[in-house]
């Protein structure tokens, strides 16, 4: 399987007043096409920073990120914006839907931003498909305040998937949700990976969420401490992962 995403020696240093904080200290990794990778680690480990660099939301202090053969870590704002729009999708902990837009409009947002007609043709078809994928068929015209938290996050996932991005980045997507709703979200992500061959990079501190991944990268203190290959498993059993993490003292 060819690598879709590579990172070489990524470093990120923040200045906080007089002090500097090294959030990442030389991280290298690669993600294969269709793979589901989880970045795990305790709070402050640098996992979210890593995801932001991989997704082109921020620039590294050193090192490079290569997406589909293109070095994205040195792109200017406009080029990075275009890349995000065309090749990546993001799901955040807060659902961040536009309150006045209904489900269809929120899902169609990336196309609307790009100035693409969304009401007919193949695009409309895609929007319907992705709404069905996240199990929201029949609620197309509901507004965010008429949806449950889990449904809102599924709208956010549909919005991230609708452009058929090469990579989907999810940053603690279940962090604001209860156990059952969180499971719904993870199932939706899993389905997209299995049924659509979607590549996913998931940031989480929750071993239950990480257990959905094919491979888990454990981040600690700005470095990759360990790599746990779980393989594709339909049962999402957490036992093997928890065992390895316990071995690492996490």
């Amino acid at each position: 399987m060819p690598a879709i995403l590579e990172a070489h020696d990524l470093a990120k240093r923040y200045r906080l007043g007089a002090t500097t904080v090294d959030a990442l200290r030389g991280v290298s990794l690669s993600v294969d096409e269709g793979e589901f990778v989880a970045l795990m680690g305790p709070s402050g480990s640098g996992k979210s920073t890593l995801l932001q660099l991989l997704g082109g939301l921020d620039r590294p202090t050193a090192g490079e990120v290569i997406l589909q053969g293109e070095t994205i870590s040195r792109l200017g704002d406009d080029a990075a914006t275009k890349l995000r729009r065309d090749r990546t999708g993001f799901v955040f902990q807060s659902f961040n839907l536009i309150p006045l837009f209904d489900v269809t409009e929120n899902v169609a947002l990336p196309f609307t931003i790009a100035g693409v007609e969304t009401s007919k043709g193949e695009i409309a078809e895609r929007i319907r498909d992705v709404i069905a994928l996240v199990d929201l068929a029949g609620k197309e015209h509901h507004r965010p305040d008429q949806l449950s938290a889990g449904e809102q996050q599924r709208v956010a996932i549909a919005r991230a998937l609708v452009t058929r991005p090469a990579l989907l980045f999810a940053d603690e997507p279940t962090g604001n949700l209860d156990y059952t709703t969180g499971t719904e979200i993870l199932e939706a992500l899993w389905r997209s990976c299995v049924e659509r061959h979607q590549t996913i990079v998931l940031v989480t501190h929750d071993s239950k969420a990480a257990a959905y991944a094919d491979r888990v990268l454990v981040i600690s203190d700005g470095r990759i401490r360990d790599e746990i290959a779980l393989g594709r498993r339909a049962d999402h059993d957490t036992a093997p992962l928890v065992g390895r993490l316990a071995g690492l003292g996490l």
């Binding site: 979210s48 932001q52 997704g55 939301l57 921020d58 704002d77 406009d78 914006t81 275009k82 995000r84 729009r85 065309d86 999708g89 993001f90 955040f92 902990q93 807060s94 961040n96 536009i98 309150p99 006045l100 837009f101 409009e105 947002l109 990336p110 609307t112 931003i113 790009a114 100035g115 919005r159 940053d171 603690e172 962090g175």
Partner: protein
């Protein structure tokens, strides 16, 4: 408590931009208020000075009524009336100074000659000498000049002026110079004062124009007035007191003062919006923090003080800056008011009392604006610390209540500082307009959605997504948008209302000129030109002149009420196609004027008195006698006199019954196509005859200019309110951006460019601007219509003030979009990472 207040002040310091905007907003409101109060005080003190200069220590003034002046018999009767201690007569004549010997071709310079009794005058009025000495007590060829006139002539004590008398030029030696403009209002300071006997001799006129009376200690002015009624039976006269004069001067400036006060109130009201929005935002942003304070044991009262302390700090800072702004605005207004000749104006130095009053009003309004946010802060329960936002519905209800509170607070503040002597009519009009503006704000939330959709249309065509997002943001917090749009709308409404009233006045003036004046040019004379004088024949003989129509304006009285009358030649008006007769037969009516015994009355008089065609109009002619004249026609508009439209009479009646000596205006109609080549000859001839030529277009231009000055001032003040509203837009958009930080971050992550983000904010401002402009224009037109109707300024002319409407639209949309510059920049610069960070 101290710790919380310190936290409150630190909170203001932390949001420096917003704090500065609020201070500038309230400062502009206070500045306009201060400047308008200072201007008002200047006008008021000028009126007092004028009254003092005019009547001095006199308790009563008797003036001749109509064309005939008071005779020596009348003067004796006044002197003999019981209770009269001093009766100081005065004779006023308009005349010319003969050209100096070294410049015999110079045009004659008009002056007012005032004859006084040098023995009695000092008992009534102080004539302050700047140089030289007082007039001799008897007939002598001596004169006092005002400083203004002496400077204009380059003459000083010991010099000579030559007065044009009825029998020819008379040389007078200048014995003294009076300080300033002298005692006659309306002469522009061009006054020559001579002994009464001298002036009577020079003009071969034994009468006097007025007698100033000082009453004895035992007699009240009312008793003396009654005694005069018995003593003076042979001549009609007008009796006035200093209070009457002051009241009449004050009423002539009442509209101006009422309008400035209204605009000041509006500016303050708009400033209050800004304060309210700022403090509301502080409370909304700090809900969690305030909830935590409550959880940690802070009392409700402490949280209320948290907000009130901020309000007081903003109010004090706003007042200090506002007074400074007011000084500058006051100076600018003073310069402008001085250039409006019809409004007397003295400079006044600011008093501590007036500064304290303005600071108190500013602080009061600021605190009133903060009461609601303060109450809301106090009502935050500790559990709200865990929630992000207040319930929008309850917030909306609360704000509506607040709006009423601030509306009333500003209204009460307005009443407290309202110019007490400006009359109640202006107060009523201003109150009505104030309520209309308030209603417009109440209507705003109801029409916001629909208007917003319509306003978005032009943007939707090219910027679909931006328009959709912008509109979503606008309805997100409807009450905040309402307040923002409302503030802009009332600022723009004032601009439109002022423009519409000015436009209406211009239309009325130009319609009047073209409908009433039977000529292309008016020649004015400072002395009556008798119809049989050679002058009229000479002018008529100029090649290219079709007709010379003499017009005289004088006073008549009916049932004890005086009003204006004008002598005209009916045949001239008929031939020239002037006057729109709305009742009666036009030809017959105008010919009947020349035949005599008939009048044509203006529509406004017909409406007021119920007189119509065929009615009899009974006018007083003196000696207790009256004359009946038949109303033969009603004209839509007639010639303007001193106080209003005049009743038209034929020349025969005017000269034989009312003693009109001659025309004061000659209307010149040129033969078709001959104006350009004839005008120079005619104007030269007119000047040789001591007539002042005024082409109609110059008169129209002068009217336009005068209206432009008055209304330009109002416009400038209204513009301040618009600027304050613009600051509100900056504030609202900034908060709207800050509230949507995460949403904007997601949009950026989803591929929205920085340009698109910027455009979204600018489109939001554009929609706010359009909605504000539409609302402001409609409200302004309604307010203008009410102002015109309530002022009784005649029927509404259905011709919209397109220029003002366009200015309001451009101003509203332009200022809003300009106000979006900073928030748009802020939005586009938000780092996506920060925007989408975890809680």
């Amino acid at each position: 408590m101290g710790g919380l207040i310190s936290l409150a002040l630190r909170s203001l310091a932390a949001r420096r931009g917003r704090t500065i905007l609020s201070i500038v907003g309230i400062a502009l409101g206070i500045g306009v208020l201060y400047a308008s109060l200072e201007t008002d005080a200047g006008i008021s003190s000028s009126i007092d000075r004028t009254v003092h200069d005019l009547v001095g220590r006199a308790d009563l003034r008797v003036e001749a009524f109509g064309e005939r002046r008071l005779t020596a018999d009348s003067l004796s009767a006044i002197e003999a009336a019981p209770g009269v201690v001093i009766a100081a007569p005065g004779l006023e004549r308009r005349t010319y100074l003969a050209p100096a010997a070294n410049d015999p071709n110079a045009a004659p310079a008009p002056v007012t000659a005032l004859g006084i009794d040098p023995a009695r005058e000092p008992a009534v009025r102080d004539l302050t000498l700047a140089a030289g000495q007082s007039l001799p007590a008897t007939d002598a060829a001596a004169a006092l000049l005002t400083q203004t006139l002496a400077a204009a002539l380059g003459t000083n004590v010991g010099g000579t002026v030559t007065l044009q008398g009825s029998a020819g030029p008379v040389d007078l030696s200048v014995v003294g110079i009076l300080a300033g403009d002298g005692p006659i209002v309306g002469s522009g300071g061009r006054t020559v004062i001579v002994p009464l006997q001298t002036l009577q001799r020079v003009f071969e006129d034994p009468t006097v124009s007025r007698v100033d009376i000082v009453t004895g200690e035992g007699a009240t002015p009312a008793e003396v007035a009654a005694a005069l009624g018995v003593a003076l039976t042979t001549q009609p006269y007008v009796l006035s007191s200093p209070a009457d004069l002051a009241a009449s001067l004050r009423s002539s400036t009442a509209d101006f003062r009422a309008m400035t006060a209204l605009i000041a109130a509006v500016a303050l009201f708009v400033g209050a919006f800004l304060i309210f929005n700022t403090l509301s935002m502080t409370v909304a942003e700090r809900v969690r923090e305030l909830g935590l304070l409550r959880a940690a044991g802070a009392t409700r009262r402490q949280l209320v003080w948290f907000v009130l302390a901020q309000a007081i700090a903003l109010g004090i800072a706003g007042a200090v800056v506002g007074i400074a702004v007011g000084f500058v605005l006051g100076e600018l207004m003073a310069a402008e008011v001085r250039s409006i000749g019809s409004i007397p104006f003295d400079r006044v130095d600011p008093t501590i009392a007036s500064i304290i009053a303005v600071v108190a009003v500013g602080l009061g309004v600021t605190i009133a604006a903060s009461l609601e946010p303060a109450r809301r802060a106090g009502s935050i329960p500790p559990v709200e610390a865990l929630r992000e936002r207040l319930d929008p519905a309850s917030a909306r209800r609360a704000r509506l209540r607040w709006l009423v509170a601030v509306f009333v607070a500003v209204g009460v503040a307005g009443l407290l500082v309202w110019p007490r002597d400006a009359g109640t009519a202006g107060l009523v009009r201003s109150a009505v307009i104030y309520v209309v503006l308030f209603l417009a704000i109440l209507v705003a939330p109801l029409v916001l959605g629909a208007l917003g959709r319509i306003a978005g249309l032009p943007f939707r065509l090219v910027l679909r997504l931006e328009e959709r997002l912008a509109r979503a943001s606008i309805v997100r917090d409807r009450s905040r948008t309402t307040l923002t749009v409302g503030a802009l709308a009332i600022g723009l409404a004032m601009v439109v209302a002022v423009g519409a009233v000015a436009h209406q006045s211009r239309l009325a003036a130009s319609a009047w000129l073209s409908e009433v004046i039977p000529g292309d040019e008016l020649l004015t004379s400072i002395r009556p030109v008798a119809l049989d004088e050679a002058a009229i024949g000479q002018l008529q003989a100029v090649d290219g002149v079709k007709r010379i129509s003499p017009i005289a304006v004088f006073e008549v009285a009916r049932n004890g009420v005086r009003f204006d009358a004008a002598a005209v030649r009916g045949a001239d008006l008929l031939d020239d196609g002037r006057l729109r007769i709305v009742a009666g037969d036009r030809g017959a009516a105008l010919m009947a004027l020349d035949a005599g015994g008939s009048v044509v009355i203006p529509q406004v008089l017909a409406d007021r008195t119920g007189l119509g065609v065929g009615s009899t109009m009974t006018l007083a002619v003196g000696n207790g006698q009256v004359i009946d004249l038949r109303v033969v026609g009603v004209a839509a508009r007639t010639i303007f006199g001193k106080a209003g439209e005049a009743v038209l009479l034929g020349w025969n009646d005017a000269t034989t019954i009312f003693g009109v000596a001659g025309a004061d205006v000659l209307a010149v109609r040129y033969a078709p196509g001959r104006q350009i080549d004839t005008q120079p000859t005619l104007e030269r001839t007119a000047r040789e005859l001591a007539l002042e030529p005024n082409p109609i277009d110059r008169i129209a231009g002068a009217v336009d200019d005068a209206l432009g000055r008055v209304f330009g001032l109002f416009d400038a003040l209204a513009l301040v309110a618009v600027i304050v509203a613009a600051l509100g837009i900056v504030n609202t958009l900034t908060v709207s951006v800050l509230e949507r930080v995460r949403e904007l971050g997601v949009l950026r992550a989803a591929g929205m460019t920085t340009r698109q983000v910027r455009r979204t904010v600018v489109v939001e401002a554009g929609i706010l601007g359009i909605v504000g402009a539409v609302l402001g224009i409609v409200t302004g037109l309604v307010a203008a219509a009410l102002l015109i109707v309530l002022a009784g300024a005649g029927p509404l002319i259905p011709d919209p003030p397109w220029a003002s409407i366009a200015i309001a639209a451009i101003l509203g949309i332009g200022i809003s979009m300009a106000a979006a510059w900073y928030p748009a920049r802020l939005a586009s610069r938000l780092a996506i990472v920060a925007a989408v960070q975890h809680e």
